[in-house]
Symmetry: C2
Subunit: 320 residues, 2 copies
Amino acid sequence: MPESVGEFDLIARHFTRPASRAVLGVGDDCALLAPAPGMQLAVAADMLVEGRHFVSTVPPARLGHKALAVNLSDLAACGARPLAYLLSISLPRADEDFVAAFARGMHALADAHGIELVGGDTTGGPLVINITVIGELPPGQALRRDGARAGDTLWVSGRLGEARLALEALRGQVVLAGEDFERARIAMELPQPRVALGLALRGIATSAIDLSDGLLGDLGHVLAASRAGATLELAALPRGAVLARQDPALQRLCLLHGGDDYELLFSAPASRADAVRDAARGAGVEVTPIGRIDAAAGLRLREPDGRESEVEARGFDHFA
Amino acid sequence: MPESVGEFDLIARHFTRPASRAVLGVGDDCALLAPAPGMQLAVAADMLVEGRHFVSTVPPARLGHKALAVNLSDLAACGARPLAYLLSISLPRADEDFVAAFARGMHALADAHGIELVGGDTTGGPLVINITVIGELPPGQALRRDGARAGDTLWVSGRLGEARLALEALRGQVVLAGEDFERARIAMELPQPRVALGLALRGIATSAIDLSDGLLGDLGHVLAASRAGATLELAALPRGAVLARQDPALQRLCLLHGGDDYELLFSAPASRADAVRDAARGAGVEVTPIGRIDAAAGLRLREPDGRESEVEARGFDHFA
């Protein structure tokens, strides 16, 4: 971490713990890492801005969790094993309670994945968080967006739409009972990155992406990269109990256009369904077949009554 | 880069060019890199906030240069060879002219160092820029802060203080003639990371740090890490023609407490002076001996008249 001499430096110490895996951790101009011989590196970064990616009332420990989770989700979508991460954070005030809780949430998730903070930056300014994650994987084994093939089954992990449902509730578009709101909020604020599933799907999945901008939008990225089309079964989309109690139009919005799911959407040959289920079982994650990849371009949605319609592959727009 | 579907996505395309060295560049959940076998990785990140690290009137191409330069400077201070970088940027408006110029300045510096942008994030929000750099170096060869030994000579690259002089002029604390102001501003806005020098100093320098927070503050970090003291010769500190024309008190402030120099401060055994000069010549950078490392703790400053005084190792505080 660059070391200015202000109060934010003292605050930055909350983030710093002794390095155990890194050759050299926080405290020099760079951190030093020693990747395993022959491995490739996977790197990704996500920036979270207050008022745009999270509300100011989010509990700081959950914010620390989520800032790292969304990045680990990118490694999961590539099938990479997380190694280390860097945190850059701009803070309006040197608020020690906030930082301590943020660090606690972040470190807890890092510990769960056996990775450590090796560097970054702390400064004054608007509340903006950027995390860069570094992972490793064997050459040629990355799960990419461009490998989906006609006939492949489309799968999704976990359940979709409750993060978006929480956002709709925060926006006053829907009223949820207290307990329901808390469950939806947990989906929004404490996403679980599917790292173990991503690792288990290497050699099985033909493509993968993490769902950050909504099912249709993210599927659109896969289809564009793979030059393929797809048909989705609306009734098959996995949803939790709270979302299942909402009216059908809201369910549809949350399932198809919900952002912030951080589940894996992936394709695999139909013949590998058992391997997919075994991988998911081993990773302790539920997976659901939700459609198939088509040779014909475009995205088709099959309604519960069997009707099929073309839909636009459009996701959640933070700027809408 | 995460791909939301807003206008900032279109803007992000200005940053994206085809990957040439990376296995997989921008456009999937992660970028993939293949470091040379047996090499260690050096990683660092710096966050720049408008109004705090740069003024809103900075030409965008210079801002793009500087955002990458301050990160490359961290790699230089470790003696690492730059490989790739990630850019996360939050922008108040999707201003295509701004982004095109910013990208031009950033890519020009990246090209000069043979590295490429492999990922990151683009979002709406306050103007905040975070770059993470990744470099490589052979195990055990990193220039660290903790290797300075009593008797070592202290060296600095380039010239100090003109970036701080430009800041004083912007703050109205000093009036510079137009041409002088432009020269000082170039020092502030277009720092040249000393990557070649850092590489050439491997095996010669015993410690190194890049000067971002001011000579005294950054030297203080080296002395703390190395558990040593130092004596600096004020008259030896290299300064450019514009700074040399200012009054002695202002020169002293800019030389000792100037931030944003992005020169290398390093130590080497006195017996290696010729090797240091050869390394600098090969790198095309001027270097100047400015003092020595002492066994006795503390930082002493020798004035031009020979008097010595203890000084506090304190740097430039962005929050002061």
